[in-house]
């Protein structure tokens, strides 16, 4: 009874490994490459023939000319090969400090371009880490706060950048699923297309 069950177990494990471990993913990879090659490869975005990133991964943007991502808890920030969240409890001083520092940083960055900006104008997603550390999106409110800075730094009319924000706002999907967002890498690529990139 015992040995027979052990032999049967091993047989079943071998067969299920072949079917579910290799057959099933191989079938799905084959299907994916044929039907949805871009998505299957990680939704990569290209410029001049090289990969500039993925539409599904935040990357580090600094300086006044670009829209900035949300804060990231990964090491280094926006690490798309080792994702994580911050894990600060809701009542901890660590969270309070992080939020406070981030809010001050936002006011310092945007203040010169957007003099009326107050603490109560900053949307919560601009001062909190995301669930993955590579959240590729920011809220529309967050993007609109950054628009005056990006416009001035690029010598574009502010209305043009605001229009671009609305153009790059996606969601809710099908009008009701999830929230409206702005994909930061996509809108920054569009900006570079308008005025040329900067390194």
């Amino acid at each position: 009874m015992l040995t027979r069950n052990i032999i049967r177990s091993v047989l079943v494990i071998v067969v299920s490994t072949v079917v579910f471990g290799f057959g099933y993913p191989a079938l799905m990879v084959g299907f994916a490459q044929a039907a949805f090659p871009s998505q299957a490869g990680g939704s990569l975005l290209y410029h001049d023939g090289h990969v500039v990133g993925s539409a599904l991964a935040a990357q580090d943007f600094t300086g006044p000319r670009y829209f900035h991502e949300r804060p990231s808890a990964t090491t280094p920030a926006y690490n798309a090969a080792s994702t994580t969240f911050a894990n600060f409890g809701p009542t901890t001083t660590a969270l309070a400090q992080q939020v406070h520092q981030q809010a001050e940083a936002v006011l310092k960055l945007e203040g010169p371009y957007n003099p009326g900006l107050k603490m109560s104008d900053i949307p919560v997603d601009a001062v909190t880490t995301s669930g993955s550390g590579i959240d590729p999106d920011i809220s529309v409110a967050n993007a609109l706060d950054q628009a005056p800075r990006v416009a001035l730094a690029r010598h574009l009319p502010p209305a043009r950048v605001v229009a671009l924000v609305h153009q790059y706002t996606t969601g809710p999907q099908w009008g009701f699923l999830s929230e409206p967002v702005v994909n930061v890498l996509r809108i920054n690529m569009a900006l570079d297309g308008l005025t040329g990139g900067s390194r």
Partner: protein, 562 residues
């Protein structure tokens, strides 16, 4: 909270019901059809003479245990040796023993607790041939055991419950595989990667380098949701955009999470010919789920005390979701994150689409309570409904005491043996959680795992043992990996999985031998609203009274202090 958010939650409930009902009827057919298909006949020939014979509950239980043990051993060996094996494009080394032990038990028990970051720890071989296979098989073991238990309940004066290998085969081939393919196709379409290519390095817009992890993600994510597994390809699990890129992918994954546990209620109703009774069970489960969703969404939308004091804007408007966005993704906002968290902790699916450690005290209490009910609110595939059967027996027993009659359930007399097994099944796991949490809190070596200090650290510890015992696998991820926590967690998961399962099989074995007695005027009716109220009351009292002191030390204290 926007109108659209409420609409989305209602739509979710409707879609689950509309899909679960017919699936339940189909599953009843799968487990009761007389003839084997041609592949199954070949399969039994390979397994040897007698492998497809009917088994009594002891034989069935032994087969489940041996099968799980062998699978554990092979998985452990694979994880330790992955550095020397093929299909490892990123040259990851073998997994250390405490992590390998914990992970192997975690996947075999359908827990999928993860003390590691998937993309940086597991080779493609480990992800595919070890963990992805276990996602299918451990779920199918749970489904097989439920099928046997339900068969036992439906049978009269018989000694057997069915055959484990047949139930396993049918669960995998007729239910899990087709559903996985459908869900995977939708996920790939929405942007979940599915490739054998390795990491890609991007030259970013500002001239930096970024390494982007990819792999056969979609095929694993679909089964991780359907099988109430929850172990992610990426460390951040379903919060990672590549595991869950859009509103639609999120919706489909949430449907996949609840689909089979919900369908099993209707499968039960059909197999025991008690459809109204099944509807009442569904109603009780759904009511408890809805309360959790309401509490969680409201608490998260208000935001935490720290965020309220910071002065930033938390109000929901047309341009931001507002609320407690700490460790949440913008595309999901509050409603999708809180709904996900409630549904996954009801069903023992350990996947997260937001960081639970950062939830508000009330929002974080919902998953702790959900899991503590022993997965009775829908619960894991198979194991959830078995957990509910224990509560049902307690409910009819209480009703019997009130009117002074021997309790009956579905025409069978419930006697001392059944009540002992039901009590064991319902009380063992919560008791174990409290004991393990107490030891982990009281010892120096146990405290080393705690990340956040004070009462929140207690919540992290309680959550860790609650989650592992109920084979959920989600975490207040602050709880860290030490050899102590890995070993303790291993015990927690193994006993949390197999003790209720064995109690369920023993109960079914006992019920299968009974004859049915016709219902009389004094029989407590289990197909009416009174039964729903009584059942919910029994669950709230049993689980609630056990968890309340612990809850007071954790989330309640935390909520009052700030």
């Amino acid at each position: 909270m926007q109108f659209q958010d409420i609409g989305q939650i209602i739509l979710y409930a409707v879609v689950v019901l509309v899909l679960a009902y017919p699936l339940g009827q189909y599953m009843a057919w799968v487990y009761t059809r007389e003839n084997d298909d041609i592949v199954a006949r070949g399969f039994f020939r390979v397994l040897g003479r007698g492998s497809g014979d009917e088994q009594d509950w002891k034989s069935y239980a032994k087969t489940v245990l041996i099968f799980s043990l062998i699978f554990f051993g092979l998985l452990y060996a694979l994880l330790r040796l992955q550095g020397h094996l093929f299909f490892n494009p990123d040259h990851l080394p073998g997994v250390t023993w405490p992590i390998a032990l914990n992970t192997a038990v975690s996947f075999v028990t359908n827990t999928n607790w993860q003390y590691y970051g998937g993309e940086s720890t597991m080779s493609y071989l480990s992800q595919m041939s070890g963990l992805a296979v276990q996602n299918f098989v451990s779920a199918a073991v749970g489904m097989a055991v439920l099928a046997a238990v339900v068969r036992g309940i439906s049978r009269r004066r018989m000694g057997t419950l069915g055959n484990f290998w047949r139930d396993l085969y049918r669960s995998l081939v007729y239910i899990m595989l087709p559903l996985s393919v459908i869900v995977a196709v939708i996920l790939i379409w929405q942007g979940v990667p599915e490739t054998f290519s390795s990491h890609v390095t991007a030259l970013t817009l500002q001239g930096g380098h970024q390494s982007i992890a990819r792999g056969p993600v979609a095929s694993q994510i679909s089964i991780k949701q359907l099988g109430t597994n929850g172990g992610g390809f990426y460390n951040s699990n379903s919060a990672t955009p590549m595991e869950n890129p859009t509103g639609l992918s999120n919706f489909v994954e949430m449907v996949a999470i609840l689909l089979i546990p919900a369908a099993q209620v209707f499968m039960f109703g059909r197999m025991v010919r008690a459809r109204r009774h099944a509807w009442m069970i569904y109603t009780a489960m759904f009511a408890m789920l809805a309360i959790g969703v309401a509490v969680s969404v409201t608490a998260e939308q208000q935001g935490s005390a720290v965020l309220q004091q910071s002065g930033v804007s938390l109000a929901a408007t047309s341009t931001q979701s507002g609320g407690n966005m700490s460790d949440k993704e913008v595309r999901f906002g509050i409603a999708d994150s809180a709904l996900w968290t409630t549904v996954t902790t009801d069903t023992s699916n350990g996947s997260v689409n937001s960081g639970l450690d950062a939830y508000t005290p009330a929002g974080g209490a919902v998953p702790i309570v959900n899991m503590f009910t022993g997965e009775a609110i829908f619960g894991g595939v198979g194991t959830g409904l078995i957990g509910m059967f224990f509560y049902i027996l307690i409910a009819v027993f209480v009703a019997g005491l009130m009117v002074g009659r021997t309790p009956e359930w579905l025409g069978k007399k419930i006697q001392a043996r059944e009540m002992k097994l039901a009590a064991l099944g319902a009380l063992f796991v919560p008791t174990m959680i409290l004991v393990l949490t107490a030891v982990a809190i009281a010892t120096k070596v146990g405290q080393a795992s705690i990340f956040n200090s004070g009462v929140h650290g207690f919540s992290e510890t309680l959550y860790a043992y609650d989650s592992q015992a109920n084979n959920n696998g989600s975490a207040f991820a602050g709880y860290g990996a030490t050899p102590f926590s890995a070993a303790f967690g291993t015990i927690d998961m193994a006993f949390g999985r197999f003790v209720p399962m064995m109690a369920g099989l023993a109960l079914a074995g006992s019920l299968a031998q009974k004859r049915t007695v016709p219902a009389s005027a004094g029989t407590f009716r289990t197909d009416g609203a009174t039964f729903v109220v009584l059942l919910v009351g029994v669950i709230v009292l049993t689980a609630g009274l056990m968890i309340l002191p612990a809850l007071t030390l954790g989330p309640v204290a935390e909520g009052l202090m700030h």
